[in-house]
């Protein structure tokens, strides 16, 4: 169990003195006490309460929840930044926490100096940093600017360097808070790749994100927090579904809180018979419908969808790959795009579909526009087959092997 009480952020002597005085005043007025004897200034608030979690080595746990759910507090306590008010945590192994990219970076110092400083802040020894130095620089792609103060770096370079230092920390447990929300798409992909390789080395990852796509892609398990309590602990698909409030399953309505002129409003998944569902039988196709609204006329719109399974991208598709009738023009109105998905060739497992929007060079994708579903197997025997769900590969496509004897022993 884990509890944490957030206190008033700033105190000044004046606040404290006046609190004492008013308490004294009330004591005088109510000399027998009993009137709010506890400190009246301090309202008690439990940022986390009754959270019980056990994470095994190698698990990749996504922590999901709305703002104020207690995700950040949980990470801060796990990272030993703040102390819990009650409860206990047992951590086995070295913990690396990345609550922010580039903590301790100083703009006046050069890239090289910052690598050493930041590495030391994260708990690396000088020898360890020296050993990793070239790998860090290579990953960050800043070789040419190593001796330039980082204040002259572009924001992309800065973030790359900062992430790179943290990513090369040898730890058993990696705690990551939404750091991937920064940087360009390419770099985000690179970060995800790095985290996956970290996970594949058997290290444990705790990952907080609002980006359901990232959670679905990276995590093997997810925990949903709400108002400081654990609501659900299960597969990413279950948890994301619960988080998104997918009532019917297979139909995702997205809260429109964007200022974007064009945004996705709804994602609907239908099986081969046209039923809305989040569970597709293995061996059958399906259809995804993306509904979106246009608030201002647009000329250069590209819609895209990305199908992924267990964290690997499988199929990326633009709306103008084949037909280009609209040529990226959209007048104000509501739109529906229906795509037939060739899922009959896909293995069982957890899948996600992200709907993406680009206008010109601007990415207007909403992180919440991700629908998760599973392909489940009811009828196909995969026991001794190559396409059993836990074997390599994502595609269910039994191939014909024509084996002939070329030479023979006589």
């Amino acid at each position: 169990m884990l509890r944490h009480k957030l206190q008033q952020r700033h105190t000044s002597l004046r606040d404290m003195l006046s609190a004492q005085l008013s308490r004294l005043g009330s004591t005088l007025r109510h000399p027998l006490g009993g009137f709010n004897a506890e400190n009246p200034e301090q309202e008690e608030f439990w940022a986390l309460d009754d959270i019980s979690l056990s994470v095994s080595p190698g698990e990749r746990v996504g922590i999901v929840g709305r703002n104020g759910a207690g995700k950040s507090t949980l990470l801060k306590i796990l990272s030993r930044i703040t102390d819990p008010t009650s409860g206990s945590i047992h951590l086995k192994g070295r913990v690396a926490s990345l609550l922010e990219v580039g903590t301790g970076f100083h703009p006046e110092l050069t890239g090289r100096e910052n690598i050493f400083l930041n590495g030391a802040i994260l708990g690396m020894s000088k020898v360890e940093i020296q050993r990793k130095f070239s790998a860090i620089v290579e990953f960050a792609e800043v070789e040419k600017f190593l001796d330039t103060p980082v204040k002259w770096y572009s924001s992309g370079m800065y973030v790359r360097l900062a992430f790179s230092v943290a990513a090369h920390l040898e730890s058993d447990i990696l705690i990551v808070d939404e750091v991937l929300a920064v940087g360009d798409a390419n770099f985000q992909k690179k970060c995800m790749g790095k985290m996956e390789s970290v996970a594949n080395e058997g290290r444990t990852i705790l990952f907080v994100s609002h980006n359901m796509g990232a959670v679905a892609e990276l995590c093997s398990r997810a925990v949903l927090l709400n108002l400081g309590r654990k609501v659900l602990d299960g597969s990413p698909a279950e948890v994301i579904e619960a988080y998104m409030g997918q009532a019917g399953g297979g139909n995702l309505k997205i809260d429109v809180n964007k200022n974007n002129p064009i945004f996705v409003t709804e994602l609907i998944l239908k099986d081969a018979d046209g039923n809305v569902t989040s569970s597709i039988p293995m061996g059958e196709d399906a259809e995804i419908e993306i509904r979106y609204s246009v608030k201002e006329p647009q000329t250069n719109v590209t819609m895209a969808m990305l199908l992924a399974r267990h964290g690997s991208s499988l199929l990326y598709s633009y709306d103008n790959d084949i037909a280009n009738e609209l040529e990226g023009k959209r007048d104000v109105g509501d739109y529906s795009a229906r795509i037939r998905l060739p899922l009959s060739r896909m293995k069982e497992g957890q899948y996600s579909i992200e709907a993406k929007i680009g206008v010109g060079q601007t990415n207007m994708t909403d992180d919440n526009a991700v629908i998760v579903f599973e392909i489940c197997n009811h009828s196909i025997d995969t026991t001794h087959r190559s396409f059993r769900s836990d074997r390599p590969g994502h595609i269910y496509w039994p191939l014909e092997w024509q084996t002939t004897r070329l030479t023979g022993n006589t």
Binding site: R3, L6, Q7, R9, H10, T11, S12, L13, R14, M16, K76, I77, L78, S79, R80, I81, T82, D83, P84, T85, S86, G87, S88, I89, H90, L91, K92, G93, R94, V95, S97, L99, E100, T103, G104, H106, E108, L109, E113, F116, L117, A120, I121, L122, G123, S125, K126, E128, P149, E170, D172
Partner: protein
């Protein structure tokens, strides 16, 4: 990673409410390199940002020395224990400036590194400690200047100078102890941002910087030694100037005990409050 390092890092960390950290000092030792990196950062940044860099560490004590010599030596006509008055002042200024710089910097250090504290774990004690290391650089620069001034006046150092490191350690402990107190208090009560500069300014006049502590009447000297900087400054003069300068040993002993107490209580208070730094900063 070496076998030994692996063993240390594979340990189980238990975080529990109100539980004293079993690995506190070991953690501090493991992060010792961070102490140097933080100090190095501050030194590099200082000398990259200020145009005249090193010159600052020279101009300040020189000007103060001149003013104090005129005010206390010439106008007030105070005695100088048989050494040139400017040297008397300078030998007092050296530890005082080290102390006051250390104290102001370490008191503010947690606030100026607030972002790091709220985002990553490392032993918090390193932050105020590193700002004191930075002040040592200034100390060394000023010390070189003092040696030059001594040469100018033809005053030769004696064997007592060899004890200066011990006295510097005494000054360092005083600064660290007080710095830990103020740094921790500063995070919880912002008032200390105004209190510390006042303490430093006030301290300059109640400590024997511009005058010799020998002008204090004998019966008050033990009381005067309740100011721990009296022992430090007297010690510096004794070590650097040699000659007729004497130490008032009962007072020195009292101050030393006080200094040890300040450090001990400072570390205790800091440890008690450091777990809430990230919440209140």
């Amino acid at each position: 990673m070496s076998e030994q390092e692996n063993q240390v890092t594979k340990r189980t960390i238990i975080i529990e409410a109100g539980r004293a950290d079993a690995y506190y000092w070991r953690d501090l030792w493991q992060y010792r390199e961070l102490l140097w990196f933080l100090a190095l950062r501050d030194i590099l940044v200082r000398y990259k940002q200020t145009v005249i860099g090193v010159a600052w560490s020279l101009i300040r004590p020189l000007l103060t020395m001149i003013v104090f010599t005129i005010v206390f030596g010439k106008l007030a006509g105070l005695p100088s224990s048989g050494v040139p008055y400017p040297l008397l002042v300078f030998a007092g200024l050296l530890p005082w400036q080290f102390f006051s710089n250390s104290l102001s910097d370490s008191s503010n250090s947690l606030m100026s590194n607030a972002n790091m504290i709220s985002k990553v774990y490392f032993p918090r004690l390193l932050i105020p400690a590193s700002s004191i290391l930075v002040s040592i650089v200034d100390f060394l620069i000023t010390f070189t200047l003092l040696l030059a001034v001594m040469l100018w006046y033809g005053v030769m150092p004696t064997w007592r100078l060899l004890l200066l490191p011990a006295l510097l350690l005494l000054a360092l402990i005083t600064a660290l102890g007080a710095g830990l107190w103020f740094a921790a208090l500063n995070t919880h009560f912002r008032d200390f941002r105004y209190i510390v500069p006042f303490v430093v300014q006030f301290g300059l006049y109640v400590s024997p910087v511009g005058f010799s502590s020998e002008i204090i009447p004998e019966k008050w000297r033990i009381l005067y030694s309740l100011n721990p900087m009296v022992a430090v400054i007297d010690g510096f003069r004794w070590s650097i100037l040699g000659g007729d300068v004497r130490i008032y040993w009962p007072g020195f002993a009292l101050s030393s005990v006080l200094i040890a107490l300040i450090l001990y209580s400072g570390v205790m208070y800091f440890r008690k409050t450091e777990k809430t730094f990230a919440d209140v900063i």
